[in-house]
């Protein structure tokens, strides 16, 4: 059976898988973002903890995905919830790292000036530090998203669905067509997310910080 016929025969199911896949990515990266950015901000306020926290986060990142899924399976059972839990944990590090670096790299000239003219700590954060770190933070989210698109294919193994279902089925039955039906949209999805976030990054970069033409 050639790829096109296979695809046409199965497209509603493929579309459902793709939707699940996107949901897994969006939810986990979303949860990762709302965890990592505040945590990153807290770390810039308590710098002495930063190396330890970033080291732990980095260590988690090195644990193979399958092992993590195994843990999740044991602790949380099968299905979407354990998959999201694992993916969320994986999505944290790049965003955390970039939030911390982005804010740390804001020149003291700006924060000193901001404080000196009478901004509160919150105003310094929201009016100066975050806008200036925005590009770096979004770039962290982008890296994270591209990772998670591929990691999410593993989620199929514990019954969370997504494009992984097709790949695992293909692998189990030596069916290259199934593997490709899972792999190609995943790869395209990664490209699409990356491009979209890249666009968002440019859009949100304050004009004064953009490179001059």
């Amino acid at each position: 059976m050639n790829l096109t016929t296979l695809f046409l025969a199965n497209w509603p199911a493929i579309a459902r898988s793709l939707a699940t896949h996107i949901m897994l990515v969006v939810v986990s990266v979303g949860l990762g973002t709302i965890t990592a950015i505040p945590l990153g901000i807290v770390l810039t306020r308590h710098r002495r903890f930063a190396p330890a926290v970033l080291a732990v986060a980095g260590m988690i990142q090195t644990i193979p995905g399958l092992v993590m899924l195994g843990f999740a399976l044991v602790l949380l059972g099968i299905g979407t919830v354990p998959a999201l839990a694992v993916l969320t944990i994986y999505s944290i590090l790049p965003i955390l790292q970039n939030t911390y670096t982005g804010i740390s790299e804001v020149s003291p000239a700006y924060t000193d000036a901001a404080k000196g003219i009478g901004m509160t700590a919150m105003q310094v954060l929201f009016k100066v530090e975050l806008p200036l770190a925005r590009e770096t933070i979004i770039s962290g989210i982008r890296i994270s998203t591209v990772y998670i698109v591929s990691w999410a294919t593993l989620a199929g193994m514990i019954g969370a669905g997504g494009m992984g279902d097709w790949i695992w089925t293909g692998l189990a039955t030596y069916n290259t067509g199934y593997i490709l039906i899972g792999a190609i949209p995943s790869a395209l999805l990664a490209f699409a997310f990356s491009a979209a976030l890249g666009g968002l990054q440019r859009l949100l970069t304050p004009r004064g910080l953009r490179r001059q033409p």
């Binding site: 000239a109 000193d112 000036a113 000196g116 003219i117 105003q123 200036l132 004009r207 001059q212």
Partner: protein, 375 residues
């Protein structure tokens, strides 16, 4: 008015401000200067509570600054830093209006403020308001930095080496501008620098600090004339050398103190002998109370003098005299108008103070121009 009362600041074992007290009057341009680590920036940052002293109190207009929140205090005091620190994500207009916005001024008022301030430094609103800091030169950026500090019309503006990173030409332009604005808007400015040129150019009062203490607080003129410490002298360096000693003004400053006198009762031969010994051709005649009577010249005695007579009989009372405190010009006019070679300088009690000759005049003028002269 800003008052420091026994302000001390320590970081661990390091004392950066050591029991500092001083008062800055309203409308004064005060420059704080000293070597690095002398505490000048700490002093500045203590005023707007970016640094909290312990112990010690800072008063603004008689009110302890800790009575209001640091944030509110800082909104009421302008602040300019060396690194400029214009927010790169905001336009020139947004940067200038940042404090008025924090203070929740209505938008129209913010616009008016930006308009007026840009006009103050001759940067047309149409051309500059919507530019971003990275589209401006360093000098223009710091102009905006100064305007940002002025936006909410604070009576006090703090400037921490604001022109340190600018090239000399731009720096001078900005110094003039700031001085002009300060006079026009009657601001109290506290300005930190390590550049003595800048301090002398701008300051009404200079505070010289070292090791957390004030070595001298004085006007630029006073500091130049009476530096209180060798360190200050070193800082003033070439300014002191350049400074010419003020030209002599009074007669006594032109005179030579060594005058050969003779008592009126001394006999003619004796006085001639004295003149020969001193290699002079006349002597100043004084009475028993050392008061000036006149002069006696060797020609006069040779012409009609008789042995055994007192010199008082050959007295020349037409010799020019001036009081030692009189205007030097009077003495010089007399000297130049007559054929005499000297003018006798008298004390108030008419005793002889000295003598102005053509040589002593030349020497005094020479010293005024080039310093001490060996003669």
């Amino acid at each position: 008015m800003i008052e420091f009362r026994n302000v001390t600041k320590r970081y661990g074992a390091v004392t950066v401000l050591d029991d500092v007290s001083f008062t800055i009057k309203s409308g004064e341009f005060v420059v704080v200067i000293g070597p690095s680590g002398c505490g000048k920036t700490t002093t500045l940052r203590t005023i707007n509570r970016l640094i909290e002293p312990k112990p010690g109190t800072v008063f603004i207009d008689g009110k302890d600054v800790t009575l209001q929140s640091g944030v509110e205090l800082r909104r009421s005091i302008g602040y300019v830093i060396q690194q400029i620190g214009l927010f790169p994500n905001m336009t020139v207009e947004e940067n200038i209006a940042v404090v008025p916005k924090l203070l929740k001024y209505p938008p129209e008022e913010c616009r008016t403020i930006v308009h007026d301030l840009l006009a103050l430094v001759n940067m047309p609103w149409d051309e500059y308001a919507h530019k971003y800091p990275n589209q401006l030169s360093g000098g223009q950026q710091q102009r905006i930095g100064v305007l940002r500090a002025l936006a909410a019309s604070p009576p006090i503006v703090l400037m921490d080496e604001p022109f340190g990173a600018l090239d000399p030409v731009t720096r001078e332009g900005l110094q003039e501008e700031v001085k002009r604005i300060q006079k026009k808007l009657k601001k109290t400015i506290v300005f930190v620098t390590h550049d003595m040129d800048e301090a002398l150019r701008l300051a009404d009062t200079i505070i010289f600090m070292d090791k957390g203490k004030i070595l001298q607080m004085a006007s630029p003129e006073e500091m130049l004339h009476k530096p209180a410490d060798t360190l200050i002298k070193n800082f003033l360096g070439r300014h002191i050398e350049e400074e010419t000693p003020s030209a002599p003004k009074r007669a006594e400053e032109f005179m030579k103190k060594r005058v050969y006198t003779v008592n009126e009762n001394v006999k003619t031969l004796q006085s001639i002998e004295r003149m020969r010994k001193r290699e002079v051709n006349s002597l100043v005649v004084i009475d028993d109370e050392e008061r000036y009577l006149g002069t006696v010249s060797i020609e006069e005695i040779k012409r009609r003098g008789k042995a055994g007579r007192a010199v008082s009989e050959y007295l020349n009372t037409d010799t020019l005299t001036v009081n030692r405190n009189s205007d030097a010009k009077e003495a010089l006019d007399k000297l130049l108008a007559s054929t005499e070679n000297y003018v006798i300088v008298l004390n108030d009690d008419r005793s002889v103070a000295g003598i102005i000759t053509r040589t002593s005049t030349a020497k005094a003028l020479g010293e005024a121009l080039w310093g001490e002269i060996e003669a």
